[in-house]
Each structure stands twice: as C-alpha cells, then as structure tokens.
Symmetry: C2
Subunit: 425 residues, 2 copies
C-alpha cells in the first residue's frame, strides 16, 4: 500500500481547513513518508459542498463506511449523534478513524478505544483537546516513563478570551461575552463553555492518559465563570493574581483530585500569561519535573494541524502493516477523591454594610470554622452603602468554607451572597 | 519479536538514570505495548559499573555492535569519538540507535540519518535538544503540516541559570557562574555553554526539521553571555526587559536568518518567565499560530525520559516489521541570510565622561548611521567619573550598529567599549 485513502465526514470550519491543508501538504507528505495521502470521499449534510471537492460525495456520512476503498475516516461532524454511529461502524468495517470530537470521546471514548483495538484499527483524537497543542501524543509517547503528579490547564479558549478582556480592557462579563460572540469564539448558546463543562470533557479525556484512570466527566466537580465579576478580576489584579478557568488534577499516592473552577493564579505563574483564545497545559511529573505546552486551543487551522498529524501517523502505521497501538492499562488502585476533602487557599469577597464590628463578626465565623485570614482589603468607606471586603485565606477544607460562608451569608450585615474563588499555586 | 533487546553505551548520569527508568517502567511498557524491553548489555570505561548491571558488560562500547542479539543501542557516551564510530557501526550492523549526543549530531547528523535510512534502521535523538521537551517529535510529527516562520528558544540550562541568578539575586556574573558550578549545572570548563556554542549546536539540529535545511552550526553567528554585566541586567529590568540567551530563526520567503545571542525580551514575553535551568522553545507557524514548549532542558532524569520515549517508539516500530521512518527532504530554494543583513532594535550602554555635549556627540554619530533613538537613561551624575548612558534604539541594520559603535568608541569622551545587546519581540 503506497496510497492512504482519506475520507472526511463534515465539511464545516475544521473539515474545510483540513481538506485544504491535506491538499497543500500532499507533495511534502509524499516526500516525508513515501505515501500518497488522497482525499477520496467526503460527506456533509449540505449537498452543495460536494461541488468543490474531488472524489465521491455523500450527504449521509454513514455511507462512507460502506465504501470499501477508504483507509481513514476523519470525523468532523461534531456532537454525539450520528458521530458515534459513524465512528463505531467505521471501526467495525476495519477503517481507522481520526476525530476532533471531545463530546463524543468524553461519553463513548472507552468503548470506541476498546473496539478499535479489537478490530486492529487506529483512532486518533489529538484535535479533541488543546487544538494544535500535541498533548495526547506528548503524554502517551514522549512522557511514557513519567508518573504525572499534577495538571493545571487552560483548556477552553472562549472563557479565556472573556477573562482576558475583563482583565486587560476592564470589560464587564456581559460585554466580554458579546465581544467573544462577535469574534466567532463563543457559540450563540455559550453555556457549554461558560459553565466549565467543555473543560471538564477535555479533562476527562486527559485523565485517562495522565493517570491511567477512566473517570466520567460527570463525576468531575465543575464551576464556570458565569459569576465572575469584573470587580473580582480587579481585586485579584491589585493583589498580584490573575483569574483563569482551570482544569485541575492532583495525584497523591492512590487518590486523585479532579476539578474545574475559576482560580486566582499568581501573576508570575506560567499559566497567568496565557491570554485570549490560547490554551496551555502545565504538568508536573517525576522524570520531567515541570512542563508546559502552550498553543492555539481552537480554530479551524489549529484543529486541522492536529488532524493532519493523526492522519499522517495512522497512514504510516497502516502502510507498515501489523498493528502497533499503545494500550493504556487502568490503575485499579487509584480512587477519585470526594470534593469535600479538597482544601485550598481562597479569595473571599463579602458585601457588607459599612459599620463598626462587621469585620470582627466575619472573622469570628471564619475562625470558628478553622479558616485563617492571610490578608484583607477594605477600601471603600461609605456608611450608607454596602461595601466590598476582600480576604485571602490560608489553606482550609471545602467543608469549612461552605459552613463558614453559609453562616456569614445569613448575617444581617451581609447584603449579597459572598463570592469565593479558589487560589492555585 | 515480542522482546526488544536494549544495550546502553555509557553509564554516567543519563545512562544510569535511563537504566533505572527502563527497569521501573518494564511492566508498564509491557502493558502499553505488548513488548518486553530488556537491558541485555551495557558498556562503560569504568569496569566496576558492570557489577551493578544485569546482562553482558563491556569496557569498549564498540563491542556492543558485534553482539548479534541487540535491537537498540543507546549511545550516552557523549563527545564525538568514539560515539561517532559506535553509532555508525551500529547502524551498519542493522541496529537502531538512540542518542542524546548534540555534539555528534551537529557534526555528523546528516551522514548518520542517511545511513540509518539506507540500512532501514531508526535513529532517535529527542534527548539531544531541550531535555524532556518533546521538540523533535512535535516538529516532525505533530506540526507536520505547518510551515514554521519563526523560532525563539532558550536551549541552554547553564546560561539561563546564570542569567536568572544575576536577575533575581542581583549576583555578578562570576558569582552566578560559580554557583552554577557548585550546583553541578556548569562544567569545570564552561566555555561551550557560555559562548553560546552549545545553543548553536542545538539550533543547528532543529533547523533541519523546522526549515528543511541543513546548516552547519559553524555558519550560525554566535554571541555568548560572557560579557553580560550585572549592570545591563539591572538597566534592562528598569526598562521592563529580561536578558536571555536566545537561539533565533526567522524565515522570510526564501531567506533564513539564524543566530545565537543574548537579547532583551519584554517582561510579558512567554520566554521572559523561563527561569533557572529550564528551557523553552517558542514557534510561530502558519497553521499553529504561536506555540510554546517548556520543560527541563538538562539533568539525568529529563534526558532519560526522552531516551525512554525514543526506545519505546523504535521498539514498537521494530516489532511491527517493515520500515516507517520520516524523511526530511531539503528545501533547495532556502538561502541562509548573511548576518550583515540582520536588523534589530538594540540596547546600548555607553561609558562616557560626564560633561556637557557628550549625549549630543553620541546621538549625532548614531543619527549619521541611520540609527534612531527610542529612549535614553542617564542617571548618575558625577563629573569626575565616567557614567553609563543607556539607550534603546529603533530598528537598524547590523552594519549601521558596527559602524556607529566603532566611531563612538573612538571618541575621547568614551571610556570603555560600548555594550550592545539586541532586542527581540
């Protein structure tokens, strides 16, 4: 076999970029691998897309599975159905698959990986997490001997863009979201991004390779950025911190803490300088020490770059004959830690009436719940209005924070629910 | 073949870490790849090292080539001879090779790569550049479809450690170098690091894969950090810059600029936060946009991590049968630009007598040579002593700077040769 026959299902933004990138790299790939990577078929629900493409065209992507002369199907439809059916049938018919579909993988990844191994075909999914960042390949191949202790990652470009605008241009949340939508970074319904769910999907995919554990993303505690106020970004800046939506994983012996939440990061942290739609993944491991991979997390070109890398690698493996997949055995001893057992330093913003004794009452209830205060900002003085009191705490348990904040929020001096944002170092 | 038989030549820091990492990962690698990676032989000039190792042991590494039952020889001797002879003979005898030897590769890389392809064996060299950072794999595989426009990289841990100490603890150069030596980061003879040559070796290796061009490292203009004064670091800080020793590559159409020099980077640059012995590689490309890979650039564990990744990958390919190397065709149209044609903004520090008209005479000679001044610092006022005058210039040609500085340095008001450090954005 000196030809690798590629079919693309879904000719939207990523699909059309991939088709163009494949065409433009055809000669170079031939020189590098000795193989001719040819687009032989494509599918899209919009029939008119077929006019611009070489090879066969179908409106129903599942027709691609029936074509015998296809080696790799590139699934870029997105969403779970019919992407799931397409990928499954493709594998069962002996075709390898490349996909950028994080929703599909976070739901059916395990089943599809196992099915691919049983059928001795390959499934590539580099584009599903971190866009152009080669995080899957790096963790599975380059860091194969490393035991990962910790991950901190910015995995969602939309929310990072919004937080960047709120920080750098002091935009309120709503204006920053509107700008992200105008730029095409945020969906009309941005809930999946803002709520942190998209980040949780990606964390779920990474966890399998970082920690040898299959964790359904539904088990990951998730907080989004919907309640982040420009005020909090401002106070954080004054204190020397940036607010970022983070995927966090911490391994201690046989327990694993996973979470997605907005966090205060010191301005000199490697992740604090990640702005706009960029993504970055910070890892700590026994052999590698500290590592960071930074790059474009979204966009047609970045995703097409990752898809092309998968297609090239799978093409070379198919041409070599035999079967050489990396398996990823599960660590049966590793247990997911309950979120109640997490502990962290926190940023707290109270909205209280400005009268003597307020700070004492808040401090008393924090102390009673074993939360000690590291620093306080109380600036505005206005006896007629509620004023913000900002505190950074020392490390304390989740339970302590929820109990303390419940007690504090029910005080008559408190005018709005207290804002709490975790701190990460 | 379900066993991959590995031999290690050179059981120093990296070698002994690799042997330990291989042993510790043996079970995991078996699960992930279905293959048993076994250390079957080792070589070291110190005979007593053999007592601690399983398998055969030789004092002469080239004996390993004659052993028929070895699949991969890991060359960790370092230096050019006898590493070159060992690698060449290993390839000719049908064995694959993994090496961390940047000096060898920058001298004989092309010959050895071609020889490996002719003999259908593999040569892995991820550990030769950037320690644990998977830069070779990323550029060759993950960024296979991307055309790289620019590289800025910190590739030498020793010099970065020295500059970090000079910046963070305000140490003079000599004290920082001494501390690096005490910590084991700098060799007794640190010339290869300080002069920028080690960085040039690594840049030479990367250029082949970044730009499809074989450039002997001897053709790369190199400046080291030997003349960086703590004063310059201090002035740079005041102006919002960090000084880093950079490998720089810029591609414009068919011309390529390569250089190694200490440079002023804005404090908010991704590379400005890279401290201590860490390395980082910043890339810009058409598909990927901006990308950064950051990690431990040196040390036995980091190098062992990269070596294990190569050994695993080559083992899997050998087991699969056939031959699947990535070739790297040369871009015949690409021409190395002469350093005379470079242009840059620059930091200039003049040491002049403190008397009226000095600034005017310096400014006149800069202007005459088409160098325009962006900002000036002249702080100390001491009529009896020479004082520093610091300027940041706008962009100007190398030739302009050398002519202007020659003229200025010959003025009677100038007491020491003017310091020039390029600025990079």
């Amino acid at each position: 076999m000196n030809q690798i026959r590629v079919a693309v299902a879904g000719c939207g933004t990523v699909g059309s970029h991939f088709i163009e990138v494949l065409r433009r790299n055809r000669y170079a790939l031939k020189q590098k691998t000795g193989l001719s990577f040819d687009l032989v078929a494509a599918a899209d629900i919009q029939a008119e897309k077929g006019n611009l493409l070489p090879g066969r065209f179908f409106r129903d992507a599942r027709q691609l599975v029936k074509e015998p002369d296809i080696d790799i199907i590139v699934e870029l439809i997105g969403g779970i159905h019919p992407a799931y059916e397409l990928v499954k049938e493709a594998i069962l018919s002996g075709k390898s698959v490349v996909t950028a579909n994080k929703a599909l993988l976070s739901q059916y990844g395990e089943e599809l990986m196992n099915l691919a191994a049983e059928n001795r075909v390959y499934i590539g999914f580099e584009a599903s997490v971190g866009g152009a960042i080669p995080i899957i390949k790096t963790v599975r191949e380059s860091f194969v001997g490393t035991s990962i202790k910790r991950l901190l990652a910015i995995l969602n470009g939309t929310t990072n863009y919004i937080l960047s605008r709120m920080t750098m241009e002091k935009m309120p949340f709503a204006a920053a979201l509107k700008k992200a939508q105008e730029k095409g970074y945020a969906e009309a319904n941005p809930a999946l991004d803002l709520s942190g769910m998209d980040t949780a999907h990606k964390l779920g995919i990474l966890v399998r390779y970082l920690f040898h554990k299959i964790i359904s993303w539904e088990k990951i505690p998730v907080e989004g950025i919907e309640n982040i106020d420009q005020k909090d970004i401002e106070f954080a800046s004054q204190l020397g911190y940036r607010i970022k939506l983070l995927a966090v994983a911490d391994r201690r012996l046989n327990s694993l803490q996973l979470a997605v939440f907005p966090a205060l990061l010191p301005v000199n942290h490697l992740l604090a300088v990640v702005e706009d739609v960029y993504n970055a993944i910070y890892l700590e491991g026994d052999l590698i020490g500290r590592s960071l991979l930074y790059g474009q997390g979204a966009g047609g070109k970045a995703a097409a770059s990752a898809v092309l890398a998968d297609v090239t690698e799978i093409g070379m493996k198919l041409n070599q004959g035999g079967y050489a997949a990396i398996y990823w055995p599960q660590d049966k001893n590793l247990v997911l830690e309950s979120a109640d057992n997490f502990s962290s330093r926190s940023y707290l913003r109270f909205t209280a009436v400005d009268r003597p004794g307020v700070l004492a009452r808040i401090a008393y209830l924090l102390g009673k719940n074993n939360i000690s205060i590291a620093s306080v900002i109380q600036k505005d003085q206005n006896p007629r209005q509620a004023v913000p009191i900002v505190m950074l705490t020392h490390e304390a348990r989740e339970k302590s924070f929820s109990r303390a904040l419940k007690e504090i929020n029910s005080l008559d001096i408190i005018r709005k629910p207290t804002v709490r944002i975790r701190m990460v170092e």
